[in-house]
């Protein structure tokens, strides 16, 4: 189980320098990914999932963004590399898939050109060889008659096909780590499964590490081995996928899990909702960041912020050991 650690993010802090002063979007996030592992990162919109992934590849505007902490990849801190060195890592060692396949391809080039381009950026091969590789990649992603499809333009393909093309581009150089930023959000459920299966398949074939960013807990349960739950720029819980689903310790995670409708659930019962809304990052609550929305918040929670505690199952909550028993009460409290 314990393979060598591929990517280690420790204490990552990403700050946007806005006109109204600095805003810390990602605050002290740490996690590890090893080869062959799928790490899920879940959380609400605006909790810093995407910014975390963009920080790993340093895609954010460097002039208005400040990074702190360390992102170690193969014993190199990505945050201290030059732009030039970073470019040779992007797409080659670490690749990324984006959320919306409809806008992730350049409309003026054929998909073959675009796959071949990435190959030619990182490998010294000719156009013909790169094109042949592109066809191979398309076949690998399960696109029928790829030797015809390579000459088509993005608008001639459906959303699912385009996401396959994006995956082909991302994996063209056999990266060691794939960051998938909500790869299935824009697709319908049947295509979603196909794409997730594809990512899983290719992960095994190429022995990659995968960071899967999503807000879909169903997706997480299906494909991830470990899960990081983020809230307002911080990691609030981290555990193996089964452990997390069976035994969530943080009230936020518990809330998230209860918000998922059950197929065999009582239809007349209202779905659980975490009360309140995500606070603005410019006005972070004092103490535990989740305290204003938490059912169990005590004075301690409102006064000082808990650390991420625990070993294999980490949680950022003062009452983690007592939450377990209270889980049952949540259902009751909600029953009205």
């Amino acid at each position: 189980m314990q393979k060598e650690c591929l990517l280690e993010v420790s204490g990552l802090k990403t700050t946007f320098l806005t006109e109204n002063g600095p805003v810390t979007v990602v605050n002290g996030v740490s996690f590890q990914v090893s080869a062959g592992e799928t790490l899920g990162v879940v959380g609400e919109s605006g909790c810093g999932k995407s910014v975390t992934s963009e920080s790993i590849l340093r895609l954010l505007n460097e002039k208005t963004t400040r990074y702190e902490g360390e992102i170690n990849y193969k014993n190199r801190n990505l945050l201290s590399l030059t732009e030039e060195e970073m470019r040779s890592i992007r797409g080659n060692e670490i690749s990324m898939i984006f959320q919306d396949p409809m806008t992730s391809l350049n409309p003026v080039y054929t998909i073959g050109d675009q796959i071949a381009e990435t190959i030619m950026i990182h490998q010294k091969v000719g156009k013909k060889a790169a094109f042949a590789k592109a066809v191979e990649m398309l076949r690998l992603t399960g696109i029928p008659s790829p030797e015809k499809r390579v000459h088509e333009y993005p608008h001639e393909l459906s959303g699912g096909m385009r996401q396959r093309v994006m995956i082909a581009i991302a994996l063209a150089c056999q990266p060691k780590l794939l960051v998938a930023d909500e790869p299935t959000t824009a697709l319908d459920v049947t295509i979603q499964t196909q794409i997730l299966d594809l990512i899983q398949d290719l992960k095994q074939q190429l022995d990659m590490g995968v960071i899967l960013i999503t807000h879909d807990l169903g997706v997480v349960a299906e494909v991830c081995t470990r899960v990081v739950v983020m809230y307002l720029g911080e990691v609030v819980e981290e555990a193996g996928v089964e452990e997390l689903f069976e035994n969530p310790l943080h009230p936020y995670t518990q809330g998230l899990l209860q918000s998922v409708p059950q197929l065999d659930g009582d239809r007349s019962k209202k779905l659980y909702v975490i009360k309140g809304a995500v606070p603005s990052l410019t006005n972070v609550p004092k103490g535990c960041r989740f305290a204003p929305r938490c059912n169990y918040a005590t004075d301690l929670c409102r006064q000082s912020e808990p650390e991420l505690m625990g070993n294999r199952h980490k949680v950022r909550c003062w009452h983690a050991d007592t939450n377990l028993q209270k889980e049952g009460e949540l259902y009751v409290a909600d029953g009205s």
């Binding site: 590849l57 895609l59 002039k63 470019r87 040779s88 890592i89 992007r90 797409g91 080659n92 690749s95 990324m96 984006f98 959320q99 919306d100 806008t103 992730s104 391809l105 350049n106 409309p107 003026v108 080039y109 381009e117 990435t118 950026i121 990182h122 013909k128 060889a129 094109f131 042949a132 066809v135 030797e147 015809k148 000459h151 088509e152 994006m166 581009i169 991302a170």
Partner: protein
């Protein structure tokens, strides 16, 4: 190995050729069904041919004076009549069109390059944007003709200087159009995706942003072409453009102004040629916009 050569060889190029053929025939059909574009290009091409073949179309040179035949009305011998120095007007108008077209094309070509470079770089680099766009604002604040007169007055009035002056006044408009199109493209996900694949800034700018700004660029270029023809004529009319005795549509008009009541042909024919070249180019530009921009296309149907 065998399978690979098959892949790289015949099978590959066959399907590619087929697709390309299909796309080309679609483009031709769309071109022919667009009446505005068709009319515009026919007029422009016709004027272009006249300009190119000017020396072969005329039996008189534009500078050849025949004092006895001053101000003759159009006849079989002198199709457009003669001017106040007894020069063949047809020859002068055709050579004037040649000058107009040469100026227009040169200006269009130069501004296409300068405007694209300025537009793309200011779209990509915010720092450059502030500097370059303020310079463009400054240039745009002047009325174009006034600036052109000032420039030709400073540089001297000949064709090269007219081209330089017109390029300077037209560059900001092109730069603006390219910049605004490029800024939209820059925020597209595929540009971020390209960065995530390790593409360099210059590759993104020239290989990915530039092709996406081509259609507004081409449309704007046709208008710059038309406006350049018009301003060149205006400059020559005012005596700041092509210096007489060399023919230009503008200075023929000027010569005709004095005798407008006795020799109508001296104003009508050069005027007609200016009108035709500007009309042709504008129709061409409008038609092109309808063809290239899918939004206007849908609105019409």
């Amino acid at each position: 190995m065998d399978a690979k050569t098959v892949l790289e060889g015949t099978y590959f190029s066959d399907s590619r050729k087929e697709l390309q053929k299909e796309r080309r025939s679609l483009l031709i059909r769309r071109f022919l069904s667009n009446r505005m574009l068709l009319t515009g290009s026919v007029i422009t091409v016709l004027l272009g041919i006249i300009a190119l073949l000017a020396p072969f179309l005329t039996s008189y040179t534009p500078l050849e004076m025949q004092m006895v035949k001053r101000l003759q009305a159009p006849s079989l011998e002198h199709w457009f009549g003669t001017d106040n120095f007894g020069r063949d007007l047809f020859s002068r108008v055709v050579h004037g069109t040649r000058v107009s077209m040469a100026v227009g094309i040169s200006v269009a070509f130069i501004t296409m390059i300068t405007g694209t470079v300025i537009g793309l770089y200011s779209a990509y680099y915010k720092f450059l944007d502030h500097i370059l766009m303020r310079i463009c604002d400054g240039l745009m604040a002047f009325p174009g003709i006034l600036l052109a007169i000032a420039l030709t007055a400073a540089l001297g009035s000949n064709m090269i200087n007219v081209i330089i002056a017109l390029s300077i006044i037209s560059t900001p408009t092109i730069a603006r159009v390219v910049r605004s199109a490029a800024i939209v493209v820059k925020e597209q996900v595929y540009i971020e995706a390209l960065r995530a694949q390790g593409a360099s800034a210059s590759r993104i700018i020239w290989y990915h942003m530039a092709p996406n700004t081509v259609s507004p660029l081409i449309i704007q270029i046709t208008f710059v072409f038309a406006v350049s023809v018009l301003i060149e004529a205006a400059l020559s009319f005012l005596g700041a453009g092509i210096a007489p005795p060399n023919p230009s549509l503008g200075n023929i008009l000027y010569d005709g102004k004095v005798v407008i009541f006795s020799a109508w042909w001296m104003t009508v024919f050069p005027g007609l040629f200016i009108l035709l070249s500007v009309l042709g180019l504008n129709l061409f530009g409008d038609g092109l916009r309808d063809m290239l921009d899918p939004h206007t296309n849908k609105a019409k149907k």
